[in-house]
């Protein structure tokens, strides 16, 4: 059984760890509460710009020294940013934990944001934003986020808005870093082959003197307004993406919601796959998932189809969602997907990278650690009635925000859906 550990250093930094037997690698990572939700309205992209500059040099290392240093240790590393957090992580052979931690800690605490690199990064981000426009499947997610979270901090595009990226200054980025990158606003986690006492003392050494007490402000619950939103563009397929409110992180029905969404659209034996793809050949890709969230999670669905088939795809998609709400799930479906959710959780326990992500997010959103054994018990404890009650309380077809990106007009897309 893997052991889990948690501790808080005197400066307020939380460290967590999970030892996995039988592996030689480990994954080490940080998340900091400095994501795009905290970007000021006129500076959307500040979080991403800050994230992209982290590896561009510290007060004592050039970008090349950081890169060569990590490469020499065989660390596969990267940064990330989403609505709530900025992340920095690396995967490596366990014996390199100490030197890797000291470089990553320096990157986190002491970025120099050099002027020359700032202009290069600005140009790179502006190109990244243009590239997103070339990928309709990425763009439809951007559109859905904007509409679903309208008026809420999560509406801000995590990769930024072009004008804000053009205007951001070094001073603003430094300020953002100083305000948000503090021990109390961060978590450091490790999963894999390591010794907890040794890790604790390495973390004390590399991060114990880190000062600052800023904390990210509370983010309120989102309040999406149900609607259909169409954006026309030239593309081969009509890309349909939908979201609706569901249970939040840590809710008693959290695992029931995961099972419900899997029955609807997770994998090749789900209802959407069978009805939309297998029987009718309307799409190549169709699916649904439960996406957890603070205060409120969401149901998600996607289908991509050529414009002539879009009205039928749309109507079958909605029909299946309504049917699930009206009739619930069957005993056979429930058993099938409860087993597959349990198995996929257990198998993900074999990956140090997957365990790191789980440690970081469960600490960030729920302030607790979830051992695999605990998660397994929670999944096993779900009943069919609980899944059906969850669907009654949080119907997948109610409160939907539906976005269509592609050639179809709203009239065309909804023409076969009688209840629209």
């Amino acid at each position: 059984m893997p052991e889990q550990h948690q501790d808080t250093l005197p400066n307020g930094l939380t460290i967590v760890g999970e030892k996995i037997e039988g592996v030689r690698s480990l994954a080490l990572g940080f998340i900091v509460g400095a994501g795009s939700a905290h970007d000021p309205e006129e500076r959307v992209g500040l979080a991403h710009f800050t994230e992209a500059m982290l590896l561009e040099g510290t007060t004592s290392r050039t970008s090349r020294e950081i890169s060569d240093g990590l490469d020499n240790l065989g660390v596969r590393y990267g940064t990330s940013a989403d609505s709530e957090t900025i992340g920095l992580s690396g995967q490596m052979v366990g014996t390199n934990l100490g030197p890797a931690l000291s470089i990553l800690a320096d990157v986190l605490r002491n970025p120099a944001f050099p002027e020359a690199e700032l202009e290069q990064t600005r140009s790179s981000i502006l190109q990244e934003l243009r590239h997103e426009e070339d990928e309709p499947m990425v763009q439809v997610r951007n559109v859905l986020r904007k509409v679903y979270y309208k008026g809420h901090p999560y509406a801000k595009r995590p990769t930024g808005e072009p004008q804000a990226i053009r205007d951001l200054t070094r001073h603003t980025i430094q300020e953002h870093h100083a305000r948000h990158f503090t021990p109390a606003n961060s978590v450091c986690a490790v999963a894999g082959d390591f010794d907890w006492d040794e890790f604790r003392s390495l973390a004390e050494g590399a991060l114990g003197a880190w000062q600052g007490d800023g904390k990210a402000p509370e983010i309120a619950a989102p309040n999406p307004v149900p609607q259909i939103y169409i954006e026309n563009r030239e593309s081969q397929q009509e890309h349909i993406a939908a979201a609706g409110p569901s249970v939040p992180y840590g809710h008693r029905d959290y695992y029931a919601a995961i099972i419900a969404a899997e029955i609807l659209g997770g994998g090749m034996s789900s209802r959407l796959f069978e009805e939309v793809r297998e029987k009718r050949a309307l799409v190549y890709q169709v699916g649904a998932a439960y996406s957890p969230g603070r205060h409120q999670g969401s149901w998600r669905a996607y289908a991509g189809t050529t414009p002539e088939k879009a009205p039928q795809t749309y109507s079958v998609l909605l029909h299946e969602m309504r049917k699930l709400d009206a009739d619930g799930v069957t005993e056979e479906e429930f058993d099938r997907f409860q087993g597959s959710v349990r198995s996929s959780v257990l198998m993900s326990g074999e990956s140090t990278g997957a365990r790191l992500r789980s440690l970081l997010t469960s600490w960030w959103y729920e302030r607790r650690l979830k051992a695999l054994a605990y998660t397994r018990e929670q999944i096993d404890a779900v009943t069919m009635d609980q899944v059906n009650n969850t669907l009654k309380e949080w119907p997948v077809s109610a409160g939907l925000v539906l976005c269509g990106l592609g050639p179809n007009t709203q009239e065309e897309l909804t023409s076969l859906d009688r209840t629209a």
Partner: protein
């Protein structure tokens, strides 16, 4: 049976010609198993373009014993992660389950390899393939790589498109697919790869029983000569915001001992972090991304570099790629950068060696490429054995300039991208 039960790594050739390659991983609870079929778009003629990939879809559509729904529901019920993919020269079907489900997973997977190929299902599935083609056209990089392969390899069959065209798919009769399946899915043209929680004593009799009725026949892949030459192709797509550019140059085939040096050379040139192109292009903000990979196939290989840059920057980035290749060609690599590339590759090998599904793909792919099963330690030794002189020899055997092929999609014309001085 020649493999002993306690062996961690083993190869067994069954009486029907099927090869089993396995890696036991004590301490791991899951097990991943695949059928790797030596067939892909390179084994197709123009009138059946896309048949390998279409057949991969049809393999999930039912057998004498199971309907399509039975197959996916059974896998789901045993908690399997399962899927399949088709490349230019192989088609792979896999499932990953917790160890106690292995006999059941094997039964379904082996049953799938002898599909019904029902005409009604076949006609319906054409719609799904045509949607998949449309979707790939909405992904600029996907389509670009397809066109790069065609431009680089044609008339060699590795230039054949994996997906085919809507017309080739619509026109395909079911008899063609039945004949293709009978011809290519012969046990001597397939391998079973497995890694994780299993025992040889249980596995081998089970596989033997499940595949006993499979008939062997010749499944030749005639070797065809390939002489790479520099070419250019640009598709003008005014609606795209970025210019998407892919560059191919010749590289050793997968069976060559040079493949280890080729992997490291591609990492030195264009790994996504810390490589020469990273510092000269991505870190300078000239492109939003740039990356080089080595792809080895039977008898041929290529280095492929991809970047996406604004139309104003793209000609400059392309010139930099060319000049970085010239510099590498002239001066070779340094001890220091080769050392870093080795450490990265070893670290990747150790990490992927811990995951049953990644180790399964690795052990099967390497067996098919090198004709032997390789342990993680043997792979590490091969990586660590590559010297600066080996890379020099590789560069001399495959000079970049002699095969530098450019394929682009975006707002620029070929002249604007390449002709600009």
């Amino acid at each position: 049976m020649t493999v002993q039960n306690e062996e961690l790594l083993g190869v067994e050739k069954l009486a029907n010609g099927l090869t089993v390659i396995g890696q036991r991983m004590p301490g791991v609870e899951s097990v991943a198993v695949c059928f790797h079929v030596r067939t892909g778009s390179r084994d197709e003629q123009a009138e059946i373009a896309g048949i390998s990939h279409f057949l991969e879809h049809m393999m999930f559509k039912g057998t004498e014993r199971r309907s399509a729904i039975d197959i996916s529901r059974e896998f789901e019920r045993m908690g399997a992660e399962f899927n399949a993919f088709t490349s230019h020269e192989s088609t792979v079907y896999y499932a990953r389950v917790l160890g106690d489900q292995l006999p059941h997973a094997l039964d379904v997977l082996a049953d799938m390899m002898r599909p019904k190929l029902d005409e009604g299902e076949f006609t319906t599935e054409k719609g799904v393939i045509i949607e998949e083609i449309a979707r790939s056209e909405d992904q600029p990089t996907h389509e670009l790589f397809d066109h790069l392969f065609t431009n680089f390899f044609a008339p060699h069959p590795l230039g054949n498109s994996v997906l085919g065209t809507p017309t080739s798919i619509r026109d395909l009769p079911v008899e063609q697919m039945r004949a293709y399946h009978a011809r290519r899915y012969s046990p001597n043209n397939m391998a079973l790869g497995i890694a994780g929680n299993f025992s040889w004593d249980t596995l081998l009799p089970l596989v033997e029983k499940q595949t006993a009725s499979w008939q062997q026949q010749d499944a030749p892949r005639p070797s065809q000569p390939f002489t790479p030459t520099p070419k250019t192709g640009a598709e003008v797509k005014p609606k795209l915001q970025q210019e998407h550019v892919a560059i191919a140059t010749a590289a050793p085939p997968q069976e060559s001992d040079d493949s280890w040096a080729a992997d490291l050379l591609s990492a030195i040139l264009g790994d996504s972090t810390g490589s020469r192109l990273y510092w000269e292009v991505a870190q300078k903000g000239l492109a939003d991304s740039i990356e080089t990979g080595y792809y080895g196939y039977e008898g041929v290989g290529l280095f492929a570099t991809y970047f996406s840059a604004s139309p104003e920057r793209a000609p400059e980035v392309l010139r930099i790629v060319r000049s970085e290749m010239e510099k590498l060609q002239r001066d070779g690599v340094t001890e220091e950068e080769l050392g870093r590339a080795r450490v990265k590759a070893v670290s990747d090998t150790v990490i992927s060696g811990e995951a049953s599904h990644r180790r399964m793909f690795e052990v099967a792919d390497l067996y098919l490429a090198k004709g032997r099963a390789m342990s993680v330690d043997e792979i590490i030794a091969a990586i660590e054995g590559v010297t600066v002189a080996d890379v020099r020899a590789l560069l001399d055997r495959y000079p970049f300039a002699e095969s530098f092929t450019v394929q682009a999609a975006g707002p620029l014309t070929e002249n604007q991208l390449i002709g600009a001085k």
